[in-house]
Symmetry: C2
Subunit: 324 residues, 2 copies
Amino acid sequence: MGQASPVADLVARAREGQPRAVARLISYVEDGAPVMREVTSALAPFAGRAHVVGLTGSPGVGKSTTTSALVAEYRARGLRVGVLAVDPSSPFSGGALLGDRVRMQDHATDPGVFIRSMASRGHLGGLAWATPQAVRVLDAAGFDIVLVETVGVGQSEVEVAGAADTTVVLLAPGMGDGVQAAKAGILEIGDVFVVNKADRDGADSTVRELRHMITLGSGPRSGSSDDPWAPPVLKTVAARKEGIGEVVAALDDHLVWLTRTDALVERRRARAESEIEAIAFGMLRSRIGDLRGDARLESLAARVVDGTTDPYAAADALVAGLAL
Amino acid sequence: MGQASPVADLVARAREGQPRAVARLISYVEDGAPVMREVTSALAPFAGRAHVVGLTGSPGVGKSTTTSALVAEYRARGLRVGVLAVDPSSPFSGGALLGDRVRMQDHATDPGVFIRSMASRGHLGGLAWATPQAVRVLDAAGFDIVLVETVGVGQSEVEVAGAADTTVVLLAPGMGDGVQAAKAGILEIGDVFVVNKADRDGADSTVRELRHMITLGSGPRSGSSDDPWAPPVLKTVAARKEGIGEVVAALDDHLVWLTRTDALVERRRARAESEIEAIAFGMLRSRIGDLRGDARLESLAARVVDGTTDPYAAADALVAGLAL
C-alpha cells in the first residue's frame, strides 16, 4: 500500500476480510466520526455489489432466529454475509439486542459472517444517516449479502427499509394479521412476506389474509407496470430451519427482477438521494451549531426577547449570513 | 381592527381571551402551518409578560394532579393560567395523556384557565420547536402563568425545561431517590424540587437525600455567584392540595430572584437562541427537501450509485448550490 493513509489502510484491510477493520469502520459510522468523509470517499468505488436485504417485523416474530437461519442458508451456498441488527428504539449499541445476539453465536467463529448491532447514539441524522453508511462498509468489504434486521417500530422501520434492495416483512400467526399489517404500513414496504412460526394455529389464515390484502392493495413498489413484482407470502419455522431455502430463492428472484426492470438502479438512486440529503442537512446543522456563542446570534436573540423582532425574522437573518 | 388579516384578527381575539382563537393558534403551531411566520410576528410584541413554569417528573409522581392543584391555587389568587401538557413520547396529541386530562376537568368551565395537550406530530423540529411557540401563544394571549407539564423521558424533558423561566422537578418517595435523580440529570434542571405523595413512607429521607445532593452538586443554574439561588425541596400531597401554597410561594420567589439578578433575561435570551436556531434549521431542511425531484440531486445520486462520486462530495455540491 506504500504511503497509504490510516483510513486507506483500514479500508484495504476491511476489503481483505479482516473483521476488526470492518468493525472499526462501522464504529466510525456510529460515532459520526469526522473521518467519515474520508472513509466514505475511500469506500465509494467498491460499493454497489452486495444484495442488501432488509428484514423487519414486530418484536416476537422471530427476527433473530430467521436472520440466523438465512445466514446459514447463504453460507451453505458459499456466500459471505454481513448482518446489521438495527434497533431504533435503543440509544445504546448492542444493549436491547444482546439477548438476541446470543443466538447468533452459531456464526461467531465463521470468517464469512460479520454481525453487528447498531443503535442511534444520537449523533446528527441518527440511524437514517448511519444505516446506509454501515451498509456501504459491509458492501465495500466484499460481503455478498448484507442483511439489515430492524425492530418494527413504525416510522423507523420504513426508513431503514429504504436502505435495502429487497425488504422482507416477517409476521407470526395471529400477531399481525391483515388489517394490522395494513395499518402499520408494512404492506407497502414488503417485497417478500414471511409468516414465521408456521407450525402454530392460524398460520394458513394469516397467509391467506396477507395474500388477499396484497392483491387488493397494490401494484409493484417500483414502477414497471408491464413487468410487476408480485410479493410472495411464504411460510417458515425458522427455529427448525424449515422454509428458509424458499425464502432465499424468493430473495434471489427479487434481485433478478430488480435488475431486469432497472428497479435496482432506481431504488439505489432514491437511497443515494436520501443519503446525500441527510449529509447535507447534517452539514448545515453543524454550521448553525457553530454559531452558538456568536455575537450575531446573541444580539438577534436579545431583540427577540425585547419584542423588537420575531424568531422567524431572526432566523432569516441568521441563514442569510451563513457562509456556505 | 379595520382591514385586519385573518391572522391579525385571530391574534386579537386570542388576546381578548377567546379560547377558540387560542386553540386555533396552537393548532397552527402543532401543524407547523405556513402561517406560523405571520402568527409569530403578530404575537412577538405581546410576549414576555407571563411567568413560564415547567413541571417535569417520571410517570406516576402525580404531575397532572399537581398541575391541577397549582392551577387552583393560582386561580384563587386571581391569576389566569395556561397549561401545555407535552408528551414527547406520543406521536398524537392528547392520546397518551387523555386519562390524565380527565382529572383536569375541574377547570374545564373556568374561562381563566386554558389547557392543551401537545405532542410531536413529526413536523420539522418537533417539540423543541413547537413548545416555545405554543408558550408564546399563551403568553401573548395574556395568561399570567404558563405551566408546561412534561413527561420525564430523558433528553426531551431537558429540552422542554429549556422553554421555562422556572423548572419544577416532581418526585415521589422511593421512586426517584437521589442517585437516580443525579443520573437522570434532573438536579441540574430543577429550580424547585417537590416531593409529592409526601404522606407515603420514605418522603423525609427522599427530601433529605435531595437536599444533600443539591448542596453537593452545584451553584445556581444561572451565573450570579454573589446572589445564588438555592433550590428549595418542598413536600406536597397534591391529591389533597397540601403544600401547594408553599410551591406557588417558591415559584414567586424564584421569579423575583430571576428578575433581580438579570437571570430572567439571560434565560430568555438562551431560549430565543435555541428557537432561532431551530427555525433556521427547519428553513434549511425544507430548502433541501425542495430539491426532491430536482434534476441536480438526481444526477448527483446517480453518480453516487455508479461510484464516480461519494455522498459527502455530493452533499458539498448540493449545499454549495442552495440559493440562500
